[in-house]
Amino acid sequence: MGVVLVEKPREGVINPMYNCQPCGAQYVCIGIKDCIPLVHGGQGCCTFVRLLFAQHYKENFSIASTSLHEDAAVFGGMKKIEEAVKVLVRRHPNLRVIPIITTCSTETIGDDVEGVIRKLKRTFLEKEFPDREVYLIPIHTPSYSGSHVKGYDTAMFSLVAYLAEKSEPNGKVNVFTGWMNPGDIREIKHILAEMGVDYILLMDIEGFDSPIMPDRSGFATGNTTVEDIRDTANSTASIVLCKYEGFKAAEFLEKRFGVPAVVTPTPIGIRNTDMFLKNLRRITGRRIPDSLVEERGRAIDAMVDLAHMFLADKRVAIYGDPDLVIGLAQFCVECEMKPVLLLFGDDASKHYAKDERLVELESKVEYDIEVVMNADFWELERRIKDGLKLDLILGHSKGRYVSIDYGIPMVRVGFPTFDRAGLWRYPVVGYNGAIWLAETIANTIFEDMERRKDREWILNVW
């Protein structure tokens, strides 16, 4: 009984679960205020990621391309970077940051991005815009290495390593959230405010949930500033909520500037949120307030209402970003559900296999949890075809046809969730996230009971 680790037994991918590195890098960069990421590659590398973001958020994000065409493939694409930076800086007077994100093509060609940046500073920015600081930041994310998870981690590291600068202690905590939704960010801000903790949020993407305003001013933007990132070197500590999406940056700040990095389990579920609060308490000395104890109690109350009657023993498959998957699995165990199948979609197996949260999970359960590394949706579908019984799937919308075609109820979690309305507004983290998760899972199971007329009468009196 315990966690059984297996690798996808095939070379190719059938129905991909993960995206490639540049996508993760683009997601990080749109979280910065006054920033237009520049993707150095074919136009599709940014156009389709922009579409993906729009599918999920129903919002537009400005991301530029160096529009690599054949000539660049032959002679190198460095001139394209020069042209693109000039066009961006000249046309967007408020632009302050241009991260230059490489792709498979430009890494294969071997363009010297750092060299171009040096040249642009000398020959363009200093001459044409002497009074304006525009940061050109190289981010190396060849699409053939790792996945969007690594791309996220790499981009966060590159930005922090480039911008962070030691000055006066600021008494703040750097909060590296990992790939989350605006609902999660709102919840994290709420917790930090209740705790009375001053913080720098990386990245503050609450503004991705943007309004239509009477004066037509509402647009989706990231809100972490250059100053925020620069100031991360002066914080009391860094807290990392997703180990695989942000740790590298926090580790850098620790080594370089002595800002201690604390990795806390992704705060999904009661115990993990407790750990988050306790870690904040430890770092800042702030006491955990009554208000959060009440929220915690409300979450436990919601889960108690549902767990033994409806959720207990439900067999769950979970896929998505690694920290999300592990957090959800821990949450399932808290709610008496059985996370029997976990799927990670990239080749960072050596890290996942040693993850202390999985080790801890193993000690808690009296059944097997199969963990598939380097997985695709075929690994999920094949197991169902071969007779794996599942009561629930937790994951993003790219797996929707597994749920639809095999009639397995599914709760959309993570990114992207384009086939359900507005999910990005709701948290999965914190005590409020636990409430949302437990109740959404329950309601999804209820609808399935009614559709299949499976003990649906139990809901008459409950």
Binding site: Y18, Q43, F48, S67, L68, H69, E70, E83, S105, R216
Partner: protein, 493 residues
């Protein structure tokens, strides 16, 4: 007034030749916007890449073959769940996509062995599917992987499978248009003539450049059926791999999207002498004209007239209801290429609307010739338009509605302008008689939505209080708020 340089383009004056405002008496040959030329880097183009043109637009719509993308996983991931082309094969084409998931080691040592394994694994996973398309992407093209060689080897070994290879690295060409071209020419060169379809009617056509978005192609397939015409190759919506290999047996090529698939129609004409007939599938008059031409070609004019009469009787009253409400409304068409000229006259002549600005991502000069010839004076025509230009155009023309993609749509909603999906359609089908009614219905719903009035209103503005007082005419109202500070009623924002 010839070309215009938008204010936002002052830093890139070369954009001037891409933007044109039509003036009386001007000749399109004098002022034809530059099109299908290299994108200006950093201009926030809407363009995609060659791979997208080949896979997402054309190959991906074929209903009974495996899509194998030879490259890093993102190319497959990002062109999956992004289209609404249907099929009668349980939408197999929407549900599955395969990738060789290239890693660094394959970039260094070559990915052909990986491809071979991935192909075999995919055929094993889908035992009922015996056809496959393999796409070459940026990195696998750069390292020189020979996908044809791998495909031939697997075909030889497995015996009962057929594989089509297309070289469409994202950096090839200037937009998705290059991928359309590659797919067309390669299919013609490699696949057409390989299969002998069963002929069930003396009247046979290929439907070319129609992708069955939201069932558009089903509408045309139904029209053909009702006229007793057999569709052999539907290139490529609801298209079958093998039937598309039998395109050489059709007597007529009916071309719908000339931009993405005119190439194969021309090749079929050159090689097999099959005539090409271009039709416009949107708008009652255009559709009727197209059906008449097809009928005339086969000498079955009576069947064509019967179909047109039936459809018109069924749908015209509904269209008229919408026409009354849409007449005079200003609309922008910012789509891929040919929809500009397909739609402009249908909207203007049949619905009485005014198309005030048109922009396309990957149109060629001939698309602009047609769009400008058919479009009105004073209308703005833009090649490869970008975000900042769109903002400026909106200020200039103040449209009531924009037909564009979801992302630009998400941008313009913040400016209180409704958008309709000009690529995937809001609630299609949009083609044929019923489709044009659907379009009119979607436009009506979008323009007349009560939400736009609400969006404009700033409830902090106290004018409503004055209006209320005027209405009350000085009479005493039920509640007395007079002692309350304004700040208590609504916080200042």
């Amino acid at each position: 007034m010839p070309f215009v340089l938008f204010k936002c383009d002052e830093a890139i004056p070369e954009r001037e030749k891409h933007c044109y405002v039509k003036a009386p008496g001007e000749d399109v040959h004098e002022y034809l916007p530059a099109a299908n030329i290299a994108t200006i880097p950093g201009s926030l183009t809407e363009r995609g890449c060659s791979y997208c043109g080949a896979k997402l637009v054309i190959g991906g719509a074929i209903k009974d073959c495996i899509q194998m993308i030879h490259g890093p996983v993102g190319c497959a991931y990002n062109t999956w769940h992004t289209k609404r082309y249907l099929s009668d094969n349980d939408n197999f084409q929407l549900k599955h996509v395969c990738s060789t998931d290239m890693k660094e080691v394959h970039i260094v040592y070559g990915g052909m062995k990986r491809l071979e394994k991935a192909i075999k694994e995919a055929f094993e996973a889908y035992p009922n599917i015996k056809r496959m398309i393999v796409y070459l992407t940026c990195p696998t093209a750069l390292i020189g992987d020979d996908i044809d060689r791998v495909a031939k080897k697997v075909m030889r070994e497995l015996g009962d499978v057929d594989i089509f290879c297309v070289s469409c690295p994202g950096f090839a060409g200037v937009s998705q248009s290059k991928g359309h071209h590659e797919f067309n020419m390669e299919w013609m060169r490699g696949k057409v003539g390989e299969y002998e379809p069963e002929i069930t009617s003396p009247y046979t056509v290929n439907l070319i450049g129609e992708y069955n978005i939201q069932g558009d192609g089903f509408v045309f397939e139904d029209y053909m059926r009702r006229m007793g015409i057999q569709v052999i190759g539907h290139f490529t919506g609801n298209g079958s791999y093998d039937m598309l290999r039998g395109m050489h047996r059709a007597k007529l090529n009916v071309v719908i999207c000339a931009r993405s698939a005119g190439y194969i129609a021309n090749e079929l004409k050159r090689r097999y002498g099959i005539p090409r007939l271009d039709i416009d599938p949107w708008g009652f008059e255009y559709v009727a004209e197209g059906i008449r031409k097809i009928g005339a070609f086969f000498g079955i004019e009576d069947r064509a007239e019967k179909l047109i009469a039936e459809e018109t009787a069924k749908w015209k009253p509904k269209l008229d209801w919408y026409r009354k409400r849409l007449a005079g409304k200003k609309i922008c068409i910012w789509t891929g290429g040919p929809r500009l000229w397909h739609w402009v006259k249908a909207f203007e002549d049949e619905l009485g609307m005014r198309v005030v600005a048109m922009s396309c991502k990957f149109g060629h000069p001939d698309d602009f010739e047609k769009a400008i010839s058919r479009g009105s004076e004073g209308t703005i025509y833009i090649d490869d338009g970008n975000e900042l230009e769109f903002f400026e155009v909106i200020e200039m023309v103040k449209p009531d509605l924009i037909y564009t993609g979801p992302r630009v749509g998400d941008l313009v909603k913040k400016l209180h302008i409704p958008y309709l999906n000009g690529h995937g359609e809001h609630n299609g089908p949009y083609m044929g008689f019923e489709g044009f009614v659907n379009m009119a219905r979607d436009m009506y719903n979008a323009i007349y939505s009560p939400l736009w009035e609400l969006a404009k209103e700033d409830i902090r503005n106290d004018e409503w209080m004055e209006e209320l007082e005027e209405e009350d005419g000085g009479e005493e109202s039920g509640a007395d708020f007079s002692g309350m500070e304004s700040g208590e009623v609504g916080a200042e924002g």
